[in-house]
């Protein structure tokens, strides 16, 4: 259940920096450990860049979530871009269609506790991640 949330645009390179700052400040507020903050912010940076570069822009929603006594930060990246034809393939280390390292999706998945991806060709992509305290 979300207690509070914000939506931030991802329309240019400066927004990727902004998204990192937003993720950091929410992680700080929840008092995540420094390593957990760093992991969440790094994953946010990867996913925001994917939203921008592959999804042609979109948004990030940030919210504090609860599960029983646990609290966490959930980030949801959404775009209305071309979508991903083969998600299993895209999640492999080293898979890239853009000459990148292909570590954005697979790597950010390792950096968080929950990773959920939905994509439809021609409609867009939603990636949601959660880091629990």
């Amino acid at each position: 259940m979300a207690s509070r949330s914000e939506v931030h645009p991802i329309a240019g390179a400066a927004d990727v920096v902004k998204v990192r700052q937003v993720a950091r400040s929410w992680a700080l507020e929840l008092k995540l450990s420094l390593v957990d903050q760093t992991k969440l912010v790094t994953a946010a940076s990867e996913l925001a860049r994917n939203t921008l570069d592959h999804g042609h822009g979109g948004t990030m929603r940030v919210e504090q979530v609860e599960n029983g006594l646990r609290r966490g930060i959930k980030l949801t990246f959404e775009d209305k871009g071309p979508g991903i034809p083969d998600i299993a393939m895209a999640l492999r280390d080293g898979y890239t269609t853009s000459g990148g390292l292909g570590l954005g999706l697979s790597g950010s998945r390792r950096l968080v506790n929950e990773f959920d991806i939905k994509s439809e060709v021609g409609r867009g992509t939603i990636v949601a991640i959660t880091r629990w305290k």
């Binding site: 990727v16 990867e46 860049r49 570590l103 790597g107 390792r110 950096l111």
Partner: protein, 131 residues
């Protein structure tokens, strides 16, 4: 245009990354460094990232590119001051940065650069390349 300053210190170039870089700034730094290494025939590049709070795959790739390009230009790159949380995260992300020399701080980094440049001069002497 916004740029990260590059300091020339004798045979070496010194860069301190203090801002949360957007992607273009990182690309500009990579280009500027390559140009400066060639221009000054620098023997080493030290990049201090002790103020960087994250290194993602984009910045990681830029650092690896700088190291690779400086190698081609016969200069050694050393990365200094990486925060432990950043190092842990980078490894989990899947970037080992195994091709880059690292040092705990700027002083140690400078030592490595001096050693490298002394060694390669000796090597040149032994091969008779230098008078």
């Amino acid at each position: 245009m916004e740029r990260i300053p590059i300091l020339k210190l004798g045979d070496f170039l010194l860069v301190t990354i203090q801002v949360d870089m957007h992607d273009q700034l990182a690309i500009t730094l990579q280009d500027d460094l390559t140009t400066q290494i060639a221009k000054h025939a620098s023997r080493g590049v030290l990049i201090d990232i002790s103020s960087l709070e994250i290194v993602d795959s984009f910045i990681g790739r830029m650092l690896a590119n700088i190291a690779a390009m400086s190698k081609v230009l016969d200069a050694q790159t050393v990365l200094t001051g990486m925060q432990p949380a950043v190092a842990i995260t980078l490894v989990e992300l899947g970037m080992s940065l195994s091709g880059i020399k690292t040092a705990l701080n700027v002083e140690r980094g400078m030592e490595i650069l001096r050693q490298f440049s002394d060694q390669s001069y000796e090597l040149q002497d032994a091969n008779g390349f230098q008078e």
